[in-house]
């Protein structure tokens, strides 16, 4: 059978789109890598129904309950714990769940697969004991796990503040918070008036900061972070106020913001735009969320970081766009107006310019001895050396150094290679492209691919 729409990702945008597409009568398959709906923001929402963890996760988390229930009741077919590892034209999707590969067909595809944390290499970032705040929050949401020992957080952005508040709420310990943000700058202040339109979120951020400051160790304006240890993390070093400092550490949680997932749209050759405030690529889409490829839509953080409220609205807008694409007889312009989708989205995004200007991505040059590509263990020094004699194309670096050739397909090193090429060739970062992305989008076994041929023979 051919699905009207395959939705990739069951977070705020994907669930919202699925619920509305079902209302319009479209057949929908939602595939998601997680075992339960909710995405990253509402991970484990159905199991964390009550108790201390649910309370600590806060009010925004609680808001996912209604949408998740509506999604469950929508009649959309739902395939959890499923990876999409290849998307081919007009539209065939290759999926794997429980170790078995299969193919599904669709008239249209919605990518609502969210964001990933921006990888920022620094000395010692590959040591056991160093992980991202996002990964730590996954452990919290899925099993109530708190980090143990001397726990440090380093980074910038709303997520580390939120996570620290959640940990403190569960009586967890945090030895210190190394704030890498530049503090209130002119650019951020200029965006502040517009941000008042989303007063609750702004107030929330200040509350998080206040709680953290009250807990003790909030250290501002740090640089040159270094994680050290013999086989695992044992201590940290950083510079603050011109002084080099050290501390014992068992766990270091890092975070420098999030960037859209773009491997799918890159692999499909969609046009992308460079976001020069936040230094990321996002697939270019029209006012309905349709990319430069007809029938391929994008919504939520995958189309540019906007947070969960904006994501639910953009899912609703994409549902209308998809209905139009499918030829469903509804007046999509009228529905867009009646549901005030544009007003709701612009309110949801009101704080974003302030946040983006406040939490600018790090732009310090990465030292030569730092590993950039974790899969193939390629250092910044190696990349720099090759970049000096190669074209300013990340694919030339990949060919010459194996950087980006490992299982993560450059998800960890892509932007760093781009930044180093820009530095060496003296170009604006956004003028350097990204790696060519080759299938599979996720690792898949030889046996699984071979079984596709058998399917073909059986047909």
């Amino acid at each position: 059978m051919i699905h009207d729409v395959v939705v990739i990702g069951a977070g705020p945008a994907g669930m919202s789109a699925a619920v509305h597409l079902r209302k319009f009568g479209a057949s929908v398959l939602v595939v998601d890598e997680q075992p339960a709906p909710g995405g990253q923001i509402w991970r484990g929402i159905e199991r964390n129904a009550s108790g201390a963890i649910a309370a600590a996760l806060g009010a925004d988390y609680e808001k996912g309950r209604a949408l998740t229930a509506a999604f469950r009741a929508s009649g959309a077919e739902y395939s959890p714990s499923t990876q999409v590892w290849q998307i081919e034209d007009e539209w065939t999707l290759f999926l794997t769940s429980e170790g078995k590969a299969r193919r599904v067909r669709a008239r249209a595809v919605l990518l609502s697969n969210g964001a990933q944390e921006r990888p920022v290499p620094f000395a010692g970032w590959t040591l056991p004991g160093v992980m991202t705040v996002g990964a730590a929050q996954i452990l919290l949401k899925s099993g109530g796990m708190l980090p143990q020992g001397n726990v440090w957080i380093a980074g910038a952005g709303p997520l580390p503040l939120l996570y620290a508040t959640q940990v403190l709420g569960l009586k967890g310990q945090i030895s210190g918070f190394l704030d890498t943000s530049k503090g209130l700058n002119l650019g951020a202040l200029a965006k502040l008036p517009a941000a008042w339109r989303d007063l609750p979120s702004l107030a929330k951020g200040f509350k998080w900061q206040r709680e953290l400051r009250r807990s003790g160790n909030l250290i501002r304006g740090i640089s040159d972070l270094r994680a050290e240890g013999d086989g695992r993390l044992q201590q940290l070093e950083w510079t603050a106020g011109g002084v080099r400092r050290k501390a014992k550490a068992d766990v270091l949680l890092v975070h420098e913001g999030v960037v859209p997932r773009i491997h799918e749209t890159l692999a499909l050759g969609c046009d992308h735009d460079w976001n020069s405030t936040q230094n990321y690529f996002a697939a270019r889409s029209n006012r309905w969320g349709e990319t430069s490829r007809r029938g391929l839509f994008v919504a939520g953080d995958a189309s540019g970081i906007g947070g969960w409220t904006a994501a639910t609205v953009s899912g609703e807008i994409a549902a209308l766009g998809l209905a139009g694409h499918l030829g469903i007889q509804i007046d999509i312009e009228a529905l867009r107006r009646e549901s005030q989708l544009d007003g709701r989205r612009s309110r949801a995004l009101a704080l974003r310019p302030f946040l983006d200007a406040f939490y600018t991505p790090p732009n310090t040059s990465i030292a030569d001895d730092v590993v950039v590509c974790r899969c193939e263990e390629v250092t910044a020094g190696t990349i720099r050396k090759v970049a000096r004699t190669s074209a300013s194309d990340p694919n030339a670096i990949k060919a010459a150094t194996r950087c980006g050739m490992g299982p993560c397909q450059g998800r960890q090193c892509g932007y760093t290679v781009q930044a180093i090429l820009a530095e060496v060739h003296n170009l604006p970062v956004g003028d350097v492209s990204f790696f060519n992305i080759r299938p599979p989008l996720k690792p898949v076994t030889l046996g699984e691919i071979a079984s596709l041929g058998e399917l073909e023979n059986a047909e």
């Binding site: 060919a399 030889l446 041929g453």
Partner: protein, 373 residues
């Protein structure tokens, strides 16, 4: 800009011809529209194979084989060449009969590079090989190389020999004057006495610009590379009648190819993977070496290369235009030939002739008749 020779195409064949011409004192500019090795040279499985070669290619292939064993002498690096041997396995009696026939015909002509081996020797060479394999042709001096290291070595050697390399340089027009060419490029006009067309999948466009239009197809062979795994297969393994070649790199990754074709974009500028077609090659690999079934693929791709109807390359002078030498159309098996074809082309550049018989590679085979003016 001005040189004796303009090489169009920064793949391995272009680099090899440029390098070996420059070593004879010829001034060379090489232009590449993307970056060196962007297409077939970077997408290749890098098999170094005399096994199963067309008889017309054998002299070039055997000369190249000798050079691969002494690659350091040519480019100062061994290019990651690993003389692990190549096996062409027979999975049934019919395949075995074909292999026997070919090896005995080669022996009758005095060629001894291929040897027939039985099931016992075959399974001792590759213990993981499925039991149904009956025998194989075995070329002990063949092997495989590292394509990116090869590109780097040829580039460095070419630069050291004085070749001027211009990347991101697209040729947009070629005009022949009485004694020289004027090439319009995206990086300016280049004047050269001779042109070598080594533009791979785009060689027909260069030929058309030069006034020697040809018809060629484009091959879009797909490849698979897996995560690293413990060493299990030493030789490069193929199977007669199957679209399969299988090897394990020194990094421990498995590389599976063999000619399953991807999808060529309508504008013929790019190719993408056709996963169902690829499943045939992967299925053949799993049937041949069942132990690899659980290994994860990390990347697949479709390379692009010019293909002729008889799958033989085009090497030699244009007959319709003065000062134009073609070297393209390797149809998916040109990697091994890089050192010898580069030498032959350099001979044509420097002396106007070569000791190799190039008649089977004549461009007339694929020429398009020009409409009468």
């Amino acid at each position: 800009m001005k040189a004796d020779l303009l090489v169009i195409g920064g793949g391995l064949h272009g680099l090899s011809a440029a390098l070996q011409s420059a070593r004879h004192g010829v001034s060379v500019i090489l232009v590449e529209r993307h970056f060196l090795g962007r297409h077939a040279s970077g997408a290749t499985a890098a098999g170094v194979r005399t096994l199963g070669r067309h008889p017309a290619e054998l002299p070039l292939s055997l000369e190249a084989a000798a050079t691969w064993h002494a690659m350091k002498d040519l480019v100062g690096d061994d290019c990651g060449f690993n003389a692990c041997g190549q096996l062409q396995v027979a999975e049934d009696e019919a395949a075995l009969a074909k292999i026997k026939d070919r090896v005995s015909r080669l022996e009758a002509q005095g060629f001894t590079h291929e040897r027939l081996i039985g099931s016992n020797e075959l399974h001792s060479l590759v213990p993981d090989l499925a039991p149904h394999c009956l025998g194989a042709a075995w070329t002990v001096d063949d092997g495989s190389a590292d394509p990116h290291r090869t590109i780097g070595a040829f580039r460095d050697a070419a630069i050291a020999a004085g070749v001027q390399i211009l990347e991101r340089c697209l040729v947009t027009g070629l005009v022949r004057h009485s004694s020289h060419w004027l090439a319009q490029t995206s990086r300016g006009v280049i004047e050269a006495g001779l042109i070598v067309n080594a533009a791979g999948a785009w060689a027909d466009q260069v030929a058309a610009l030069a006034g020697d239009p040809v018809h060629q197809a484009i091959r879009t062979s797909m490849m698979v590379v897996t995560e690293r795994t413990s060493a299990r297969v030493k030789p490069v393994v193929s199977s007669l009648g199957q679209k399969l070649s299988f090897k394990q790199t020194v990094q421990g990754t498995l590389v599976i190819g063999g000619g399953s074709q991807g999808k060529l974009a309508p504008d013929r500028q790019s190719a993408s993977v056709d996963m169902v077609a690829l499943a045939a090659s992967v299925g053949a690999a799993v049937r041949l070496i069942p132990a690899v079934e659980g290994i994860r693929i990390v990347r697949t791709w479709a390379g692009m290369e010019a293909m002729t109807p008889d799958h033989l390359p085009v090497i030699g002078f244009s007959h319709r235009v003065e000062g134009l030498i073609h070297a393209f159309g390797f149809s998916g098996h040109g990697f091994q030939l890089v050192p010898s074809v580069g030498r032959a082309v350099a001979d044509l550049v420097c002396q106007g002739s070569t000791d190799h018989d190039l008649s089977a590679f004549d461009v007339t085979r694929i020429a398009i008749e020009r409409a009468a003016a």
